[in-house]
Amino acid sequence: MKLILLGASHHSAPVGLRERIDFSRRGVPEALSVLSEISDITEVAVLSTCNRSEIYAMCSNPVSVGQVLVSFMSSYHDVPESELAPHIYIRHDTDAVRHLFRTAAGLDSLLVGEPQILGQVKDAYTTASQHQCTGALLNRLFHWSFAVGKRVRSETGIGEGAVSVSYAAISLARKIFGSLKERNVLLIGAGEMAELTATHLRSQEVHQIRVASRTAARAAALAAKVDGETVPWENITTQLTSADIIVTATGSTTPIVTRRDIDVVMQPRRDRPLFIMDIGLPRDVEPSSGDIEQVFLYNIDDLRSIVQENLTRRQSQLDSGELLVEEEVDRFVIWLRSRAAIPTVVALRRRFESIRSSELSRLEPKLASLSPESRQRVDEVTRLLVEKLLLAPTEHLKSINDQEMVAAYADALNHLFNLPDKSSDNDAEKRPRLIPPVARSPRTR
């Protein structure tokens, strides 16, 4: 059994095509039910986000399954194959494992380190698992990817720092005030940016949001959206006094709030901090206001440069993240290869056990005179003998990383101990393996 990944993402396909091949439009379960009907596929999962549509499948012939999956994507989404094919990528085995691990860790995301993707990978697995589309290998692979995602996030700074202007503003406010629950917010202007910031602030459960706009109707509309109240435009300077956070986003060509206004406001506030986000262009707050003690004035460029710094910092963590992913891919592959030896180990143990049992049966007449305790002792001693004989070969077989070497050992053992060619397990075929079956070894476990 081999792992195959087929998909398209923001790296390979334009947004128009990504929208058309989005599995969530018709529902992932429906796609899973069609995919699980494909004869060579034993396990399958579908990862569908706004930036990627991917199918992970276990099969015995990845070349033909790859073709089948391209045709499936084409017919399922009603996109001509000729249009789809150039934007599709196909990965096999280790490359597919690496791709999933990178995706779960956010290394493959449009916004590097974004946290949603890990949840989306988990959802993809849960859906596939609930529809009985996963087996031993995809189960292990996906759970491993969750751990990789967490590890990369906790051991690198890949997910740190705000990467949007409005979130950067909230992070700043929290760094100044701690909890924002008792803080009053004054919004001056009711544009799109003001609304976005106000929505974020509302999610932080700020005490009160007041909205002032030259157009009273727009102020009322925004106030209603963010559960705030409106204040008359003429009263802005008096409203400044009670605000801890001021967001200005008007189209005014002259400053709305002057240094003198802030000086007046800060007198009764004394050393209580005041955070001003001036996201208007041209600026709404006189820049020298930021020189006043305990006034933290950030304009749109300041916030953008913070976002840029955070993005750069995240990019600088990419290499560390890639190294961690590579380490985990190696570990996963070692685990997989150790599984390749399992059928041989099981067959060997069965062979030894059958010899032991038949020898004990043959000696049955001679052992009949022994007491039950002594017979039990004989049974135990022979069992221990077999265990000890097999201990070193078992461990050695499991520790071999080289696939060809495992096959060579298995071949030798099959010949030396006359191991059976086929497994007697009925469910062996349902247990897929990434590594090709070892020659003439039974496919158990």
């Binding site: 700043l172 100044i176 701690g178 003690e293 305990q294």
Partner: protein, 274 residues
Amino acid sequence: MNTFPFALYLVASVSYAVHFARRSESAGRIATVTLVLAALTHAFVIGMQTMQVGHIPFVGTTGAVSAFVCLLALAYLYSEMMTDERAMGVFVVPLMALLQVIPAITNSVAERPPSLDSPWFAVHVLALLCAYASFALACVVGVTYVLLFKELKAKHLGFFYARLPSLQVLDQMNSRAVSVGWFFLTLGLVVGTVWLLQVQSNTTDPRIQAMSLLDPKIFIVLLCWVVYSFALYARRSIGWSGRRAALLSTFGFTVLLLNFVPVSYFVTQSHNFY
């Protein structure tokens, strides 16, 4: 015996530094556990010394420094538990390791002159040591406040922004530490004065006779009391909080630290019981 706690303080310092620099949770846990072990070992050492000489080894700068470090460790651990914030450790714990060098090298307990055999004396020293520990915490919190404040004002968010709690939290911690410290400082000074009035007329010990407002150690500690009293007054009545309060507490503790070590060893005529 003081070498064991010193070694543990050193390990804890390194662990807190690793935790701060790499934001490693496991290093943080190791740091806290090591510091708890250091404080317990230190308390055990002080307990053993108490059994050995029959009184708490507060007498002399060495004993006082050792007790101060132990109290500072306990005060810091308390604040770490209360705020669930380990970032301060990198600033406080190295100070403990540094000061613990003195008892680790000296490693002897000063004899207590008969004139100091009074419960008033014990309360006086213990209260002042608690005050010093609180002021040390306030100072460290103040320094971190200023560092974060500068980053926020300069709009260059980096190292401290990513690692320190909010300005508001730091300001509250500073305010509490200064209030607690001021209470103990006042208590220590009042008890010391009462005890001095009792013993000064009955003893010929020149060190006790030298205790007056003009003695450098007493003069400076009173100056500190004025500084911290002003800090409290300024916060409540003038509205000085934030950076100004942080700088005041840092200034106050710098003076205290000078008084605690160099003045005690080399200048004062009154408090040199070593």
